[in-house]
């Protein structure tokens, strides 16, 4: 028994995955479903968005800013909901990878997570500004997503500190 244990030192000695990263992964999975919901609506698989809290989802989702780059600039912009879905899937996958014993202390994983979530946060803040200042309409799912990505960014900070 002792011999077996001694042959797996890296497993037993790997640092425990931080709670912050576990929460990050759970929130990224939540974000996947919200982004999937908006993406399915964009592509016609869901007819009407549930929008009982603020009532501006359809205005936001119908606007030129539902695409990036916005349709006011170019006609070929990609659906923002789809961009969000891809982003959350990538964050979820890297976060999950970062929970594996081999990658718990990986600086590369920590830096990738904070970089991606930082870019996503900046993008979400810009979209929130557009809702407030340009469209004067709020989409509750977009607001929830912006809050999620803000929390994910904060949760990615401890991983960078721990990997120094």
């Amino acid at each position: 028994m002792t011999a077996v244990a001694d042959s797996e030192p890296s497993y037993t000695e790997a640092p425990a995955p931080p709670l912050s990263r576990m929460l990050l992964v759970i929130l990224a999975l939540t974000g996947i479903f919200i982004a999937a919901y908006l993406t399915l609506h964009r592509f016609g698989f869901i007819g009407t968005l549930q929008c009982s809290l603020v009532g501006g989802c359809e205005t936001v989702q119908s606007s030129a800013y539902a695409f990036f780059p916005p349709r006011t600039m170019v006609p070929w912009g990609m659906s923002v909901a789809l961009i969000g879905l891809i982003g959350y899937v990538v964050l979820f996958a890297i976060g999950l990878l970062g929970l594996q014993p081999r990658f718990v202390g990986s600086r590369a994983v920590a830096v990738t997570l904070i970089s991606l979530s930082g870019v996503a946060l900046a993008f979400s803040l810009w979209l929130t500004y557009v809702e407030a200042a340009v469209l004067h309409a709020w989409c509750q799912w977009c607001v929830v997503s912006a809050i999620l990505i803000g929390i994910i960014f904060l949760l990615s900070i401890p991983g960078v500190r721990a990997s120094r």
Partner: protein, 256 residues
């Protein structure tokens, strides 16, 4: 020593259990939204929209022409109304050719689907779906051109998709837009703007800030535009002028 790996797995169990629970809830929720919602039932009715008078200038009309044109012609129209069809067929092309293309005027189209025509609201949304692909005016023209064919159909959605193909729109993209609630608020806002401006019938026209009492012939409209462009005195006695002064949008949507 040998128990440590077991302990580690136990530590992660609550996390994976939570992750699985979130995953199951998420999948069920998305599936519920897909299969219980009104998928395939396009929005065909206006909705109540709260609109502050200060926000009127942001109601989205569809504009064509130079932003700095000296005269702006606003039209509130219904795709099912025969008079709108006549105006779109015989007058609008002349407006675009002789007034808009020459830089004398900008033309802004607003939806005003009349409740007595059950297909009007869907048609208005369809045209805005076409606008998403940059072909509003092409679709607007074909909708009016084929008005007798679809206006009395019980459900014209499939026909609208056919028309989308006729103007070289991506039919799948168009249909996904049409069979949703997209632009329901925007068209509803257009209607509310018209109501606030006193529009009661279609087509209703405004030249700069003045509401026209009747639907003009092109020659009459051209004369009005030339007078406006030349700085002729405004016809203060024109019915509706006072309402229009305060509420006609100063800025409209850019040319699609």
């Amino acid at each position: 020593m040998a128990r440590k790996p077991v302990k580690k797995r136990q530590t992660m169990t609550p996390f994976y259990a939570t992750l699985a629970a979130v995953g199951v809830i998420g999948v069920v929720w998305v599936a519920w939204q897909m299969f219980s919602g009104p998928r395939g039932n396009p929005a065909t009715q206006a909705v109540e929209v709260a609109i502050d008078p200060a926000e009127l200038s942001r109601v989205q009309g569809i504009s064509v022409g130079r932003d700095d044109a000296p005269v702006v012609i606003y039209e509130f129209a219904d795709y099912t109304c025969p008079h709108c069809g006549d105006f779109a067929t015989f007058v609008e092309p002349l407006i675009r050719e002789r007034l808009v293309d020459t830089g004398m005027a900008r033309f802004v189209f607003y939806d005003f689907p009349l409740p007595q025509f059950p297909n009007s609201f869907l048609a208005a949304r369809a045209a805005r779906c076409a606008r998403e692909e940059g072909k509003f005016w092409e679709y607007h023209d074909i909708l009016f051109g084929r008005q007798p064919t679809w206006s009395s159909m019980p459900d014209p959605a499939d026909f609208f998709v056919e028309l989308a193909g006729d103007v070289a729109l991506d039919e799948r993209t168009f249909e996904s837009c049409l069979r949703s609630d997209r632009f329901q608020d925007e068209v509803s806002r257009n209607m509310q703007l018209g109501q606030m401006l006193g529009v009661a019938s279609t087509p209703s026209l405004f030249v700069n800030m003045k509401r026209l009492p009747n639907v003009p012939q092109f020659s009459e409209l051209e004369q009005m535009v030339r007078e406006e462009a030349g700085g002729a005195p405004a016809a203060d006695s024109t019915p509706g002028a006072a309402q229009a002064d305060s509420a006609v949008p100063a800025t409209a949507a850019p040319t699609p």
